[in-house]
């Protein structure tokens, strides 16, 4: 009997070894895609590391290192190393970069453009770069999808998994796909902000008087030089035809403004929006990560242990939900006014932490029901009957069923956070200048809505609506995808995991 035992199981490594071609093709493709953007990948990655390290060191020593004057030695060293790697990343050749496809140049007497990509007018040069960036982004996503397909086709041992159905349903969900596309556009805007904007944050907003702008002066017929700050002032939109640079137009200095310029002290609105998207995304993702983690942990614990554990979390979450959000945020704003945390994104990090603290009860309530339903399934009892550890049971047998929920409610909540952040900036208690934030653009532009300079408030307003709608649409798509009811019956727990997604 024992001689015929077979070991049919083939580990993934061996499956790859027997048929390496598809995997190799995919890996080489991915490597090439990443290689052309190596500089951007490194600088973005280490930019995030630097931020995390600064916050961590700040939390340990009470002041942000590398930023404040009295830096702790080791912390400063760590941060400066990360910073230099980030800078090094910037020097690496990158395909989609401002230097390869420049859009900032000036006209010469002949009317031709100098300094721009192939001598194209700045508008075309910029547009070309934007198209390339999004083409790259969608190619990268498609490549990831292609990788998944390759795995399913060549390497997966199961011929079907429940995930296949989810994917199938998502593929037929147009509304969700619309949401996904807009979300990708938004994330692309945030990720590629330094490349995608017509000018940069430093030059346009942060230190405009340290950068110079060359332009063709028609009166003198020569190329003159001024500071970016002065140019911004002159080209700013102030609601009169004489002082206005609208969307898709050039200003007096030959600079192209896709969304027009802002009010005093001026500046490019598109650049402001791109960097603002970064801030919104950062706040949204950080807050959702924090509150989602707390909600999932409490959801599992309360559903598994029930009784007193549940009751205490109910009381805590009720207490938190009873706090008036606006008052608390104003309070935090005042109390932490001089705190080191405020120095990140002019209060953006503080806001993200506050949102993370304030939003978990809502998420927890959303997943509590499904978690309870899953905990009543007999497979949880079965796990107990053969002695599985409680933490493993929660992770293996319960978490997969509430993750879908977290995704749905998370995407809805991110929209809410983006709106709230904008609303707070509008009320001037959120993220302060100079860190760009969409809500502040709406606030700044509201007195010009009825004038020539309507674009200052209107464009950010529309974008906020669009992004939040898209996040909701995406959430709807996920909910419908994990809902077996939409495609005929499946397991009871799947229903459990999808039934409460209507809110």
């Amino acid at each position: 009997m024992s001689s015929q035992h077979q070991f049919e199981e083939v580990p993934l490594r061996e499956r790859l070894a027997t048929n390496p071609r598809p995997a190799l093709v995919w890996a080489v493709g991915l490597a090439l895609l990443l290689l052309v953007e190596l500089g951007a990948v490194i600088s973005t990655l280490f930019g995030v590391f630097e931020l995390v390290a600064s916050v961590a060191i700040g939390a340990v020593s009470g002041a942000p290192q590398g930023i404040g004057p009295n830096s702790d030695a080791t912390g400063a060293v760590v941060v400066s190393i990360l910073n230099s790697i980030e800078q090094f990343g910037n020097t690496l050749p990158t395909l989609l970069s401002r230097s390869l496809i420049p859009n900032q140049g000036h006209q010469v007497a002949s009317g031709a453009w100098e300094g721009t990509f192939l001598g194209l007018p700045p508008a075309y040069a910029w547009f070309f770069r934007v198209v390339l960036i999004y083409a790259y982004l969608f190619l990268l996503l498609w490549w990831a999808w292609f990788g998944y397909r390759t795995f399913v086709e060549h390497y997966r041992q199961a011929d079907w998994t429940p995930r296949d159905d989810v994917v199938d349903r998502l593929r037929g969900h147009r509304w969700g796909q619309f949401g996904l596309v807009i979300v990708v556009l938004f994330v692309g805007l945030a990720l590629f902000a330094p490349t995608i904007s017509p000018t940069t944050f430093e030059q346009d907003i942060d230190r405009p008087y340290e950068f110079e702008v060359e332009y063709f002066d028609e009166e003198t017929g020569t190329v003159e030089t001024t500071t970016a700050g002065d140019a911004n002032l002159v080209s700013s939109s102030q609601g009169t035809p004489a002082y206005n640079t609208g969307p898709l137009s050039y200003d007096e200095f030959g600079r192209f403004h896709p969304f027009g310029t802002m009010n005093l002290p001026g500046g490019d609105l598109f650049t402001f929006m791109a960097y603002g998207a970064r801030v919104s995304l950062f706040i949204g993702v950080t807050a959702i990560a924090i509150s989602g983690f707390i909600a999932a942990a409490f959801g599992l614990l309360t559903a598994y242990y029930k009784g007193f554990a549940d009751l205490s979390v109910v009381v805590i979450s009720d207490s938190i939900q009873a706090i008036p959000v606006l008052l608390l945020l104003i309070l935090i704003n005042v109390v932490f006014a001089d705190h080191w945390l405020t120095s990140f994104y002019n209060g953006g990090l503080l806001l993200a932490l506050a949102f993370g603290f304030l939003y978990w009860p809502g998420l927890w309530r959303a997943v509590r029901g499904p978690a309870f339903q899953v905990s009543e399934q007999e497979w949880v009892d079965a796990a107990r009957s053969y002695g599985q550890r409680s933490t493993t049971t929660m992770r293996k047998h319960m978490l997969p069923y509430i993750l879908g929920y977290l995704l749905v409610y998370g995407s809805l909540t991110i929209g809410g956070i983006i709106i709230t952040t904008a609303a707070l900036s509008f009320l001037n208690i959120g993220i302060g200048a100079p860190t760009p934030e969409w809500g502040r653009a709406v606030a700044d532009g509201r007195s010009y809505v009825a004038t020539e300079s309507w674009h200052i408030a209107l464009i950010p307003g529309i974008l906020i609506v669009l992004v939040v709608t898209a996040l909701n649409a995406f959430g709807d798509g996920i909910r419908d995808a994990i809902d077996p009811q939409s495609q005929g019956g499946e397991g009871a727990a799947n229903e459990a995991a999808a039934a409460g997604g209507g809110g």
């Binding site: 049919e8 011929d159 009892d381 002695g387 599985q388 997969p400 397991g491």
Partner: protein
């Protein structure tokens, strides 16, 4: 023939070889309310033993506590009191490592194969999980053929528990044998034995990884339960109910348990599949010498598969004994009633079905005395009421049952407020209940009038019937609408149900027709109810009409040569046996 059969045969002659002894086991559920309310007494003191290799059936209505009992035996519920001896050790006290280790020996197969398998995992992962949890296989080693001190090193370790070792090494020579349950070819194990004067060192090396062994074991289990090896990577969705139950059985068997609780394993399956699963379970029992506790409410299934049967009611075991015998000749009144509910395909059979009145009492507030007292058709009467006619006695019992039910019903806040304000609630209407429960009687003159009215209505002279009734019965006497009553009366007569027509009028206009010796007691109780004090009414009725069944818990009496026991007062010498009373009921 098989090991199990042999075991059983030898036990008949020798003393019993029990695997599980349950003594005074109680499992209560706390209701979880903030105020300390009554716990639900799901299992309320049961004693029984399960012999090694036998199948004990556990039957009863839904909600009688049989599933809780099964879950307590595998430590999915904590026992409130009592002990469960497993191989002589009380497992209710186990915790930590000891508990985890013991869990290998006792497994459970759940009722609902939809819910018992995590459908985000492949079948392979599901069956393998218990193996992973216990880091199976142990690779423990028995060294035989030597008296010297033995040390084992390398991939194995010395066997320390009573389970059969995975690998056995014979010491002079170093011959290896691997246990059947472990899918390890002998040529993948090499052993190095070095012997000194006082000790033996065995160094073992296994060149197959544990995880590979586990996967091979899962594949073997798949074939053992009648699935195919290639099902390993399928998901539960891709299987039918019967196949899913096979997966559940494979998971329960993965750790080679001695004892398996089968919690209604075929109730959720198609009838066509049930037999296959039952046969599989029997085969597996023979092959692996398993001991089963088979929980079911389908009595024919139990009869088919079980050696012995325990009948459960409201947290108590009512009767327990050899299966055939119990089905042939049930001794306990409850067993009798339960068995009479089995449908009989023979239409000429004149077997009488025993219909129990009411519903089982709440396990939160079980009756005092015998748990079956509220519904027992052969309940012992106090001797002073022996001569009372059946109808009256039934009426009294029914009244008690109704009051008991009413005390169980949740009263909403508004209903309580209405009660306090003296307004009508859905709980008022004791008069109606009394009309329903007790027979009523008219005086002879009115009785005659009633007969005349029936005659008239029957002859098609409705107006005359109405006139007669109107003359003799005053509409003021009753709270019901007189015209409606007469209409219903006439239509009853037309429908041919004269007796119903009579009682319609009698109930409204007659006097309660109970013998004088109980009349005052019943009226006192009714007065208590009228004044809103139903608890006092219940207690009063119990004091007046209760017997030993309401007062004392019965004992388990041995009722046959094979040691069958029944939990009933009627087995005591001073009372008539249940079957005698049942016979007289039927006559």
């Amino acid at each position: 023939m098989s090991e199990t059969e042999e075991l059983r045969r030898s036990d008949r002659t020798d003393e019993r070889n029990d695997l599980v002894n349950v003594n005074g086991l109680k499992t209560y559920y706390e209701s979880g309310g903030i105020l300390g309310s009554q716990p639900v007494k799901a299992v309320d003191g049961v004693d029984f033993d399960i012999e090694r290799g036998e199948t004990l059936g556990l039957v009863g209505e839904s909600g009688c506590g049989k599933t809780t009992l099964g879950r307590t035996l595998v430590r999915l519920e904590r026992a409130t009191d009592g002990e469960v001896l497993f191989d002589g050790e009380d497992i209710t006290t186990f915790s930590g490592k000891r508990l985890k280790k013991w869990r290998r020996d006792a497994q459970i197969v759940f009722q609902d194969p939809e819910s018992s398998l995590n459908d985000r995992m492949t079948v392979g992962e599901i069956i393998q999980e218990p193996l992973d949890v216990h880091d199976w296989p142990d690779l423990d080693v028995d060294v035989v053929g030597t008296q010297k001190e033995v040390t084992v090193s390398g991939d194995g370790h010395l066997n320390e528990d009573e389970r059969e070792a995975d690998i056995t090494v014979e010491v002079p020579g170093g011959a290896i044998s691997v246990r059947d349950g472990v899918p390890l070819p002998q040529d993948r194990v090499s052993v190095d034995v070095s012997e000194s004067d006082s000790s033996v060192t065995v160094t073992l090396s296994v060149d197959v990884s544990r995880s590979k062994l586990r996967r091979a074991r899962v594949r073997e289990l798949l074939t053992t339960v009648g699935l195919r090896r290639e099902h390993y990577f399928r998901y539960p969705h891709q299987f039918s109910g019967g196949q899913r139950q096979r997966i559940g059985i494979a998971r329960a068997l993965a750790l080679e348990p001695e004892f398996v609780v089968l919690d209604e394993p075929v109730s959720a399956l198609d009838v066509s599949v049930q037999a296959k699963i039952l046969n599989l379970l029997e085969e597996l029992q023979e092959e692996f010498g398993l001991t089963y506790l088979f929980i079911a409410h389908d009595l024919s299934v139990v009869r088919h598969i079980c050696d012995r049967v325990a009948v459960m009611y409201l947290g108590h075991i009512m009767e327990i004994g050899e299966s055939d015998e119990l089905f042939q000749n049930p001794k306990n009144p409850y067993t009798r009633a339960l068995l009479s509910a089995i449908p009989d395909p023979d239409p000429t059979d004149d077997k009488r079905r025993i219909t129990l009145r009411g519903t089982p009492p709440s396990p939160r507030d079980p009756p005092k005395g015998c748990p079956f007292t509220t519904r027992c058709p052969v309940k012992i009467r106090p001797s002073e009421y022996d001569h009372l006619d059946e109808e009256t006695w039934e009426g009294i019992e029914l009244l008690r049952e109704i009051l008991r039910e009413r005390s169980r019903a949740d009263r909403s806040f508004t209903e309580m407020a209405r009660g306090v304000l003296g307004m009508e609630t859905r709980f008022s209407g004791i008069d109606e209940i009394v009309r329903e429960v007790f027979p009523h009687r008219l005086d002879p003159e009115r009785e005659q009038a009633l007969e005349r009215a029936i005659e008239a209505a029957d002859g098609g002279r409705e107006d005359e019937a109405r006139e007669i009734l109107g003359q003799h019965f005053d509409p003021e006497e009753t709270d019901a609408d007189f015209d409606d009553l007469v209409d219903a009366f006439i239509s009853d007569v037309h429908a041919g149900s004269h007796e119903q027509a009579r009682s319609r009028v009698r109930d409204r206009f007659g006097e309660m027709d109970v013998p004088p010796e109980v009349r005052s007691d019943v009226e006192t109780a009714i007065d208590h109810v009228r004044s809103g004090d139903e608890d006092t009414a219940r207690e009063y009725l119990r004091d007046q009409f209760g017997s030993v069944c309401d007062a004392e818990s019965p004992q388990h009496h041995v009722v046959s040569d094979t040691g069958r026991t029944s939990y009933c007062h009627r087995h005591r010498a001073e009372h008539e046996e249940p079957e005698v009373v049942f016979e007289s009921l039927v006559d």
